[in-house]
Amino acid sequence: MAEVELLPIATMIHLILGLMTIILVFRSEKSNHNERFAALILGWILLILGINYLFRTIIDYQVNNDLISTGEYATSFLRFGAQSTWVIFSGLLIVLSLTYPYPLIQNSKVVTLGCLTTILITLIFIPTGIVTNFEYDSSSSLFLLFPFLIWLGVYLRYLHSEIIDDKKEDRTISAVAALLVFAAFGDWLTYWLGIITTQENHFSSRFAVGGSELSDPNVINMVMEIALQAIVAVSIISIFIGEVWRCRKKGISGISIFTFSLFILGILWFIFDYTQMGIVDSCVETQCNSFNKVYNTYYIFTSQIIRFLLVPLIFMYVILNFNLIETGGENVWFTRVLVLLMLLIVTSSIIELIQTVLPIPQMITSALFAAAVVVFIGWEERITSGMIRQSSSVANTLLESGEVVDFTISRSEYKAYNISVGVSVTLALMISLLISLMGINS
């Protein structure tokens, strides 16, 4: 139920932030070109996640109100649309990892490559996915091998240069790499111990059986999903070990605390999951039983909040704090609106979530929200400057140390990329709509 409540909020957050980021990119003429391109990709990622959550919100509404049968849902445009946008999201992560924080292609060809990757993924994987009834939908998980291999490589490289050669400025790069890993794999982060101990396979089995009405379980697909799980588990453990090492040498940092929190959350999740194993296995052995209410609440307050609220916050933190776009000059008011909007939406959704669990009268939560609004407005400047306080640009750090070459991306190239992603999304939705109307895979 609470997922249904969080999804519309997540939809709104992602759509607004995505749209505003893309607008800000085009208003940030003075930003480093590569970083501006990264911000553009991040804006599209947020926008596409927003579209994905919009579809899921409508699906949830229809399912909860018995407006759609399982058969209708199986061939519905909404299902195809949601799956298609997820494929594009995974594809954009490949392009982002090639670009930021360390550009692996250091010329404007990266834009052409980005356009081609996005369009090819759309044209190959989306129709194939729909026609095969998404029996191999986890194949898009394999796209995440790129960000995993690239970002962890960058993280380790710059963690070592910071610690071994005492290059303090290199922390910016390893921190961004770690944050992007967390944001990209946000869905699975809290299950790392379950994955390591194979406990997560019980859940995969449950979901395979539970979803068998929509598409038949497929061992190849499940193995590909395991690849994603392994990526996530190894990522968080690697970053955890890296941060422990860094804490010993350089002291604790915000990223370290965040990593440790996720690590501990994973241990707690493993224990909670273990208590539910009977229910998890019930789907395979007898019939699917519902999870414990407390367990569901814990799920909402950890995994769901990470997925729907924390992930966009991480993306926005990277965009604003690491100077991917211009936050000063004429963009100040725009940035302030962006930050305040983000904080207000997140605060209101958290207050509403608390209200669903604790019997707090609405008057009190309204007062709390009003207080938050007052604080945000009163300290608007302080909060905004706090968000963009560090303003340490990864590109500047790399340029100063001579580890990248400065290259330019023309305005027309940004536009071309914008058009190619826009066309990809439109194509994906049109393919979904047409195949849904023709009922090809029914």
Binding site: Y102, L104, Q106, N107, F148, L149, L152, G153, V154, L156, R157, L159, H160, S161, I164, D165, I195, I196, T198, E200, N201, H202, S204, S205, A208, V209, S212, D216, P217, V219, M222, V223, I226, A227, Q229, A230, I231, A233, V234, I237, S238, C283, V284, E285, T286, Q287, G402, E403, V404, V405, F407
Partner: protein, 243 residues
Amino acid sequence: MSQSKSSEKFDGSPKSIFLNMTAYNEAVKKYFVVVASFLVVFTYNSFDLVYNHWELIEDATTEDEWYLTFNEQSENLQESRVLQDGEMQTFTFYIDDINVPDGYLIGEINITVDDTGNDGLIANTDPTNECDSILADVREGGLTAQWADENNTLSGQTNDCQPFFMYLRVYPDYDGISRSSDSVNEFQALLPWQQSGWGYGELEIDVEVNTDDSIFPGQSSDDEEITITIEVIMFEISASEVI
């Protein structure tokens, strides 16, 4: 302490990018450990899935044919009363009092209304005797059962001195006949036959007697002994997979 491999000027070429990324041997070694860890976690998780879960998933998503058989037991309740001419009485049977064995559920109730215990015997042997008229109605409600089932016989009457029978289906669709079912596992095949809550409460039967006067003096009576026998059929379900 720098372990930088390259002293060449960085030119943004793939080679210089590669050299920059691999500038720290320690980092490269750890990177390979990370990749190896990924491969290890991926391999044993895949192995676990294929060998420990996949067969179960296939079983749980493939429908098999199951043959369902009912083992029945029954228990009788009986009550006799003498009713006067024109009198109506309600016979109440407390089904909750029945000792239902573990694993059994109440399936149906057969009701026999019998007036042969009194003048019925005489009537049966003496053709000159007139039979009394007996009417019985099972009162709806009171007992959790399939009151709207079309197979029920909830009322009856007799005036030929013969017992008559009524029937109430208690468990949904229960008829005691073995059948087959398509289900993914034994549990789900048995599931429709494991609902608790049926057969609780009391069964009330209204009985009315109208005695007939015999044309022969001394053979008529103003009362009638009515015996109602309730046969409660209980069942236990078992399933075997049809191979």
